[in-house]
Symmetry: C2
């Protein structure tokens, strides 16, 4: 029954599609037009100027100003109701930003107050320039860690703190310039090469390193390595067992348990977000009071010490553009710039998608870049949109960037009046705050998911992870990016070629391996090539195609000999001069074997180039160029039937595959 | 009439394809199986072990020996008739190899005799190991030029000739090791990255530089720059006008004209190949006699001078593995190794295709590599299959590698007995021979063809050309390779998305821009994505898809609103974890707009990964996954018709595009 039905359907289809449709080249475009189109897709895929089209000049000016300063867009519509939400969320993130700012500055081996400076100026700049409504701006753990460890390589923050600070500000300037430049040149896609798999591996590795480094404050060790690797840190820990202070360890464990509990509560019940958001500040207050009350600083618990009051001093006179460290500073700026940009953009996009508004990646880069440039003039180090704080901001009901302003003002008040209160804050509690924050960066479920879906992505992820742990932050990242780029290149160098068969009862041709019911057509070898054809793969494609043909000839000796090699080109998105030469060579080789080369559905670019190269009209003749495989097979088999009397059955014979 | 016909056809098709075909995932394969398959395609695409399959052990051993030593394959069948052909061709290429060997050695700033040594041992090694029947082995111009110029950077061949020679032999060893390693590790595809466009530009640039450098001998200048660039060479030429010798110039012009004429004759009439093949030796003989007769060496014409008799002395004691030049030597070995490999493999493949036999690229690399390793022990510098001599070899009727043996023996006889004859050979004639040889490397028609077919390839070609002329050989090559790799990456980062329409009267959907008769289906946006979806392009694809939808919404406000986004995935050859997340994100965004995401014909790998990632069964439901666009449109429009009464016409309404 089934077979019978398929057969009538099939002959029916053949008849119908004997009306053969022409493959046509695309309409002619000049090189300039094509170049323009290509450049537009490369640099302006989001078509940012679309809203300006057809508007009067005055409106264009307003739109332009709004484009540069998004605050002009939402500012005029701002009202008290929005402010109430922003006030609550602003105060909430401030309570998180103050202890985190101090902690992250210590992570970067900078004076704690620089972390507060960095939570004051940049959020104000971002409020004017940024287009995300949820981003909470300030120092972040990864960029702090990387900046500290990279500058460490050449300068010690303990023996030469001023130079270290100068290098940090200069790196921040370069990071900002680089970020803004990426945005202005619309090269934002460069950060796409830090794929999600890389980031998951990298962040887990960084979280482990950061946590281990906190063992210094958590165990109360005074002599600790300056290096970042897993091995030197662990050596430091166990070589200085005599320095461990039980008072510090006890305090550390208590606050760590407290913070982790608070985190757990907030994860379980998102409505109680304020528990984990307020916990760090609470811990700082409690521990400071405790130290003050029992004079614990005299019992082996180290404290922050006296902090200077007052808001950010200018720092443009501290920028260094000469000397032996310029190289290092530029490299540090580049890497911390990319890392903080990646985090900021990813956070912005995540919340924009959640709330259904749009964030322009390249514009955000300019905003973050400008913010860091201003930061480097005002004693701030690298800042960006922090994931944890933005999540809290969003949970607390932030409506606009005013929540950043509220946070900034709160930090300012702290800087002006509350600094003496931090004098007795123990370092151990800062360590506990950092550990709690970075532990959230380890995303095991995502890692498992990657393993499940794509083994190669998993390898890339592990490369980033182990590279960060055992080589260095930059080394691990570079290795992982190189590996994933290599994968892309390898996909091009070794494209898949797939043998197609006819799905019975239709005119559809699909992968024989995948569609078991598909059948082969005798006399035809139908291959689908699944990549652009270019210099990097023509040797392979040539060899592979010939191997297909040889295997085919071995297989079907008793049956109809091979007459046509049909190349289904729907997936060949582009071709270059080498690709064109492949077709010529293939045609010549096939002719010697008595096999004809037939092309099916070459895409616009391919057909255009084939036509240009094909002066002798060898490829683009009606009898070897078809719009679908079905039409090609039908047309060629009827021609074959007409020609030769030995082939009685022609395309109507369907032989089963396997 | 036409429309009517199309309409009945169309409704007919809809009815027929209402029988919807399932998209099925590929059969399950374990990770190990997949890895094995992937590794096989990457490293063994030519399946070299296929001939061993199913053979008895003894036969396998013989086949194995023949695989390593191709001479065992053709040797036993060798006969007198073949030898006659090989003798003629061998003598012909020897007459070319001797003057070229001397000239190219001078090009590499090596003693002339090293060129003859290099035409003696390596051809013998190749005759045993090589699988090409036409390759004529010996020193070549490009590799000589590059080796000379790279070693020049650190050591002067005039002030420190022994060290220079040592570095040359050591570079040759590294070149050989590198070549053999590429073959053994089956990484031959690396040389594919020197695309034809790059080679054309590079060779033209190198030919110009080589020719300009010959102005030293052609004009008789004694003080000449050691540098390679266009500018220092031209400066050298015009700053030393007082050194120009009219006798040398006269002689140079005469022989240059003679050689070019001979070349012209052979190009016009390929049967007279022996004219250009014999011309260099004739010129050497005539000029030597002339100098000897009129004692021209005393009248401002410089001659080669006394050459040592005897065959290659051993040189393993001259290899240097320590000291400050190791870095340079390895770099020189790498670059000359790649360049000579590219030439050798390309020549071998060209003639193999012409005569319809096969050359195994990776095996050839091992043969050429081993030949250079042996060469470095026996006072030879880098050798490979030379294009010009191989062409002469082929024209002269060479049948097997025995022609290389004949050439080698002839060179040996020359080395043993005829060296004193070259004492009076003027350098100017060697310069003329080099110029004539390299002028053939400038391939203007090929350059024009590249301009016609692919503008980007032309840019790559010009980069290689200008880079070699104005920067350096390595610099120009690296720039061009980088640029063409960047193009591949950019194709992935910015894949094309194309809007499809229905070709009236069929079930075929094609590019609306290319097929003007194609029409859009109201309520549907049908996009074809033409690249693998991965981390490098998900941001772009997300933005671009949303822009398509927005443009669509702007356009069709008055008509049927958008209901379905159909993604035709036939050209998406692969997907990674980031790609999967794009689908999830896109689906969520579209749902907010009331648009449904429909996938058509995802390929094996894609459907497999989608299935793994799709625990909630969101994508892979029968109602949003179809085998062809036609079936998707037919099935969804009939469902839509059933649902809503406002859409009376459904898929039967065809609106014209543009």
């Amino acid at each position: 029954m089934e077979t019978n039905n398929a057969c009538t359907m099939h002959s029916h289809c053949i008849e119908m599609s004997m009306e053969v449709h022409q493959v046509v080249p695309p309409p002619h475009k000049s090189t300039l037009q094509k170049l323009k189109g290509r450049l537009k897709e490369t640099f302006f895929p989001d078509d940012p100027l679309r809203q300006f089209k057809g508007q009067p000049l005055k409106r264009k000016l307003i739109l332009g100003a709004q484009y540069v300063f998004p605050i002009l867009q939402w500012g005029p519509k701002y009202n008290l109701k929005l402010f109430k939400s922003d006030l609550v969320s602003g105060l909430t993130i401030a309570s998180l930003a103050i202890p985190q700012g101090i902690s992250y500055a210590k992570l970067a081996s900078l004076p704690p107050i620089v972390g507060l400076y960095s939570s004051f100026v940049p959020p104000l700049v971002y409020a004017v320039l940024g287009s995300s409504k949820d981003l909470a701006v300030g120092p972040v753990s990864i960029a702090s860690l990387v900046m500290g460890s990279m500058l460490h390589q050449e300068v010690s923050p303990t023996t030469d703190p001023i130079l270290f600070l100068q290098l940090a500000f200069t790196s921040t300037l370069f990071a900002g310039l680089f970020q803004a430049l990426l945005g202005i040149l619309r090269l934002g896609f460069i950060i796409d090469f830090l794929s999600k798999a890389i980031l998951i591996g990298f962040m887990a590795g960084a979280a482990i390193i950061v946590s281990l480094q906190q063992l210094k404050s958590l165990l109360g060790i005074t002599h600790f390595t300056n290096q970042m690797g897993l091995i030197p840190v662990m050596t430091s820990v166990f070589h200085n067992i005599h320095e461990w202070s039980w008072q510090t360890i006890l305090m550390g464990i208590c606050f760590l348990v407290l913070l982790l509990l608070a985190r757990h509560v907030s994860i379980r019940k998102p409505k109680l977000f304020w528990v984990s958001a307020g916990a760090p500040l609470m811990c700082v207050i409690i521990s400071t009071l405790l130290v003050f009350a029992i004079k614990a600083q005299n019992h082996g618990i180290s404290v922050i010490g006296k902090l200077q009051e007052g808001i950010n001093p200018p720092s443009w006179n501290m920028l260094l553009f000469h000397g032996s460290h310029l190289d290092l500073v530029m490299k540090t700026g580049l890497i911390t710039g990319i890392l903080s940009l990646t985090e900021g953009i990813a956070v912005g996009r995540t919340f924009a998608a959640l709330k259904n508004y749009k964030v322009d990646g390249n514009k955000e880069m300019m905003a973050i870049g400008f913010m860091n440039v201003v930061g480097s003039f005002t004693s701030c180090y690298v800042t960006t949109g922090a994931f944890s704080r933005s999540a809290v901001n969003n949970n607390a009901g932030a409506k606009t960037a005013v929540s950043n302003v509220v946070m900034s003002v709160t930090v300012m008040v702290t800087l002006l009046f509350l600094m003496p209160l931090f004098q007795y804050t123990p370092n151990v509690v800062l360590g506990a705050i950092i550990v709690t924050a970075v532990i959230g960066l380890i995303d095991l479920p995502a890692a498992c998911n990657i393993w499940k879906i794509d083994k190669f992505d998993f390898v890339v992820m592990m490369t980033a992870f182990l590279g960060v742990l055992f080589i260095s932050v930059q080394g691990g990242l570079a290795l992982a990016v190189g590996l994933s780029t290599l994968k892309i290149l390898l996909q091009i160098t070794r494209p898949k070629t797939v043998m197609l068969g006819k799905i019975p009862g239709t005119d559809i041709y699909r992968n024989l391996d995948q569609y078991k019911e598909a059948v082969r057509i005798p006399g035809f070898l139908i291959l689908s090539i699944e990549a652009p054809i270019n210099f990097a793969n023509i040797t392979y494609l040539n060899e592979r195609t010939l191997r297909w043909i040889e295997e085919e000839e071995d297989n079907i000796k008793e049956q109809l000999s091979l007459r046509f090699l049909v190349l289904e080109m729907s997936a060949v998105s582009a071709v270059d001069t080498s690709g064109i030469s492949l077709f010529k060579e293939l045609k010549a080789t096939l002719e010697k074997k008595g096999v004809e080369l037939v092309l099916v559905n070459p895409l616009a670019e391919v057909i255009e180039k084939l036509k240009k190269a094909d002066e002798a009209n060898d490829f683009i003749r009606a009898d070897n160029l078809f719009l679908t495989v079905g039409e090609a097979v039908a047309s060629l088999s009827s021609a074959m039937k007409g020609q030769s009397s030995t082939i009685t059955e022609g395309a109507h014979t369907i032989v089963s595959h396997n």
